[in-house]
Structures are given as C-alpha cells and as structure tokens.
Symmetry: C2
Subunit: 289 residues, 2 copies
C-alpha cells in the first residue's frame, strides 16, 4: 500500500482543533501543502509563524483552489456561513469534512445551504481537545489513541469516506461510525453535560460573597474538576445551541438525580447515599480506572 498523502489541505478556522490536525498530519508526513483560511490575518500569521500551516489567506476561493481536503474547524455557529461561501466555488473534486461536536446541526446547516448533503461531505467529530483554545495550543499528538466519530450519510461517496477515515487514522486516531442522533446523545451525556456542570459550579461559587476566599480554599480535586470551565465560551455557547435538544434531556435527567440526592442528604438517608456513591465509584473505576 502506498503511503497516504494529501497534496493540498485547507483548514478553515485554524484554532486548537484545526491546528492540531495540521500538526499531526505534518508530523506523519501525510500532507504536502497546508493552507490556513480565516478572516483574521493577524491570527493566521501566528499560525504560519508557529509552523502549523505553510500558506495563509483570507480569500476562501484561493484557500480551497485545488484542495484535496477542506476541513471546516470553526465554531458550530459559523459553519452555515462557511457552507454558504463554499456553495458556488467548491469543486466536486474536493472533499469537505468538519470537526463539529453536534452532528445533526452540522448536517442541517449543510442541507439548508446545499439542498441535500453533498456527496463529497464527510461529517466527522474527533473526541479530543483540551480546555485551551487558539492555534498556540495545537498539539501533534492530540488525536493519538482517541476516537474520531464519522456520521456519514447514505449518499456519501465511499472514496471520500475512505480518505477522511485514513486521514484520522494517520493521526493515530481510532475511527468509528455512528448514527447522527446517537452521536448527539452520547456527546450530550459525556461532554456537553459535564461542561455545563463545571461552568455552573464555578459561576455559583464566583457569585458568593467571599469568592476570593472560596477559591483560595478550593481543594485538590476542585482544580481538575473545574478545568473544563476554562474552555472557550463562544464555542460552548454554540455547542449548547446546536445540540440543545439532546443536552436539555440530559440536563433534566441530571437535575432529577441531583434533587433526589439533595433530599437524601437532607434526610441523612444513609442507604441512598452509600448506594449512589458506591455505584458511581464502581462505574468510574471500571470504565476510567
């Protein structure tokens, strides 16, 4: 088998995620030219100076010209506008993919613009990332041994799927396929809900009278627990709006459980408390141990 190599890759939105993909492909010698596209030239210049991309432009038509793969790595809220801008200029030879955390939303945005999902569009979501944002935090090893979920549609071209699958495998990822709705449900539970809890907890504490002192006494576990509350607010706003149907279901389920736990603490219901903590510890140790 000949080595996988993308001749020209275009990254639309060179932040932490797009930048990490660029670095990973470069490290694995799997790309010749990487063009970074964005609206902010200063930020693009940083990406180029850091060696994340080797060409930059604020002209989308120039960025995607002869691109083999176009990766849309903007916040979800910007994607429909990007699709709109691509609509009349994209070649059917280019493969489009994305890295969005809410797949029904991305697919709907594409349908809104193109009428139906383009056959050369492969919706994808790498389950990786840190609380840091910006191209400065891009890491070549971000996707190693992490999962990338593809939510391909019935009409997606097999050759396009194969290219995107191989692209992520080349970055060290384990690529899996999933139904769109199931993806959105799983991510609401394991990523979007925890982010809501971390943001909400830090905000609850930050509005207490003695916030300075409160945070000074935050014990060891607290730092890790709230790390994800340092994530980019705009990005998380977009995720909440984009996946709100599934997220709201999870928030209600969690709210119900927490209220039951609150009542158990009020009543000092030892059986309930020990059962809940034991079940949680066992699940955590089993799956994340």
């Amino acid at each position: 088998m000949s080595q996988f190599k993308i001749n020209k890759l275009c990254i639309v939105g060179v932040g932490s995620m797009g930048g990490s993909l660029a670095r990973a492909l470069r490290k694995n010698d799997a790309v010749t030219t990487i063009v970074g596209y964005g609206r902010n030239l200063k930020r693009l210049e940083v990406a180029k100076a850091l060696g994340v991309v080797n060409e930059i432009t604020t002209e989308l038509s120039e960025a995607i010209n002869n691109a083999d793969v176009i990766v849309v790595a903007t916040p979800l809220g910007a994607m429909q506008d990007i699709f709109m801008a691509l609509k009349d200029i994209i070649s059917s030879e280019s493969i489009i993919t994305d890295v969005g955390s809410a797949k029904q939303f991305v697919i709907d945005a594409a349908k809104n613009v193109f009428g139906e999902i383009p056959t050369n569009f492969v919706p994808a979501h790498p389950i990786a990332g840190t609380e840091k944002s910006g191209v400065e935090s891009a890491q070549a090893d971000l996707f190693e041994q992490r999962r990338v979920i593809l939510t391909t549609q019935t009409n997606t071209e097999a050759s396009a799927v194969k290219t995107i699958r191989t692209m992520w495998q080349t970055c060290g990822a384990n690529v899996v396929d999933m139904q769109v709705e199931h993806h959105d449900e799983v991510l609401a539970a394991t990523s979007h809900l925890p982010h809501m809890l971390a943001y909400s907890l830090v905000d609850t504490l930050a509005r207490m009278d003695d916030q300075q002192e409160i945070f000074e006494y935050a014990a060891g576990g607290f730092r890790d627990f709230t790390r994800i509350a340092s994530s980019d607010p705009q990005m998380w706003h977009d995720i909440c709006v984009a996946n709100r149907e599934q997220l709201v279901k999870m928030l209600h389920a969690f709210n119900d459980d927490l209220q039951q736990l609150t009542r158990a603490v009020e009543k000092a219901d030892s059986g309930y408390l020990k059962d809940t903590f034991t079940r949680a510890k066992q699940a955590r140790d089993k799956f994340c141990g």
Copy 2:
C-alpha cells in the same frame, strides 16, 4: 530554636490521610515513634510493612500510652466512638487532634462525650487528599504548600495549638485559623458540593441504557472531571451527614443556578449562556489558572 520533634505519635485510623501525615513527619525527622491503632490487624500490618508506622496495636490504651500527640484520622462517623473510648483512659498530657472535613460535627461529637471540648483537643482539617483511599496511597508530600485549617475553641490550650500548628508546618503546610461555621461553609462549597456533582453525574450516566458505550466515548475532560467520584463512599457518606446543613444550602444554590442554565439552553438564550460561561472562565482562570 530547637528542632520540632514529637516523641510518640499515635495515629488512630491509618488510612491515606493518617498515613500521609506519618510519612511527612518521618521524612522531616519530626517524630521518634509512630504507633498505628485500628481494629483491623491485617491493615495495620500493611501499614507497618510499608514503613508508614513503626508500631501497631489494636489496643487503644496501649496505643495512646505516653503519646504526645493523638491524631484521630478515621471517617467522621467513627469519631464519637473513638472519643468515647478515649474518655476514661486519655492523659491530660496528650494532645488530641483530628483531620475531619466537617468541624461542627467533630466538635459536637467531642462535646457529647466530654461534656465540653477538652482543652487539649485541637480540631484541624488539612485541605489535601486524593481520590485514593487506604494506607497504600499515603504520600509524604501530600501537605506541601497545602492549607491546614485549625478551628480552635476559646478554651483550647495555647501550647497544644502551638504543637499542632508546628506539626503541620513541619509537613510543609500553610496553617490558618477559621471559625467553625465558616470552615463548614467554605468546605461545603469547594469540596463537598463538587463531590456530590461528580458522584451524581457518574451515577446518572451509569444508569443509562448504553452505559458501556457512554463511558467509552467519554472525552478527555470527563476523566479529570469525574476523578473525585472514585473517592471512598463510606467517607463521603459520613461527610454528607456530618456537614449536611451547609451542604444542603450549597446544593440548593447550585440546583437553582443549574435550572436557570437549563432554561437558557432550552430557549437558546445566547446572552445568558455567553455571560455565564465567560464569568465562569474568568473566575476559574483568575483563581486556579
């Protein structure tokens, strides 16, 4: 100033916390003899084999005989029984201290047994620890640059307070004084509430139909976020019961905030979401950055 040295230290309950204190004092050459007391001889033998303590006994009177300092490091629920067992055999020459996370509860337990707080009892709480339990996880550096809160009473002997303060300082800790109620409030906010959220989240997910898959897809942040749900269920049961008044207040405050956030997600209230996430990120970066 002569070097601080405890001739005989008795640890009642040689787990992660008591064991870490023993290791820290030994490392700093601040103790001659460390006696481990507990009801389970096998566990005490492990503590001795690991070099955490150098003497062990299941006889409390033997353990505390001639002890300069007695550290009660059991779960909170066992403390009143320990005080009861100590009542008729403790010498006024020995200083008693504890490491409990809920100070009003410990003080009430002492009052229930002794009628009033013994003047040689220094209630203390090191703000340190990990999700791991058992003497195997004891670490000599656990308290370095961490806070230890003393909630001394008006009748506490100054010389006893000085000894316990110096003992913790010798372990690298920063010792501070606090009112009992304020301690319980700050800990409810920064430690007890986050533990409830972590346990409750993991339990919510563990009861979903596709739990195996749910945990497989748990992204990077999730692992850190839920680490504290691996903490000892018995210990956390005791903390919930012991500090339930302050914890319930915090649970209600958090519940209210989370329900407001849930409504904002439902309505896709961009202003509310962005404001909340931005405020939380700023607080987190400012205090824990």
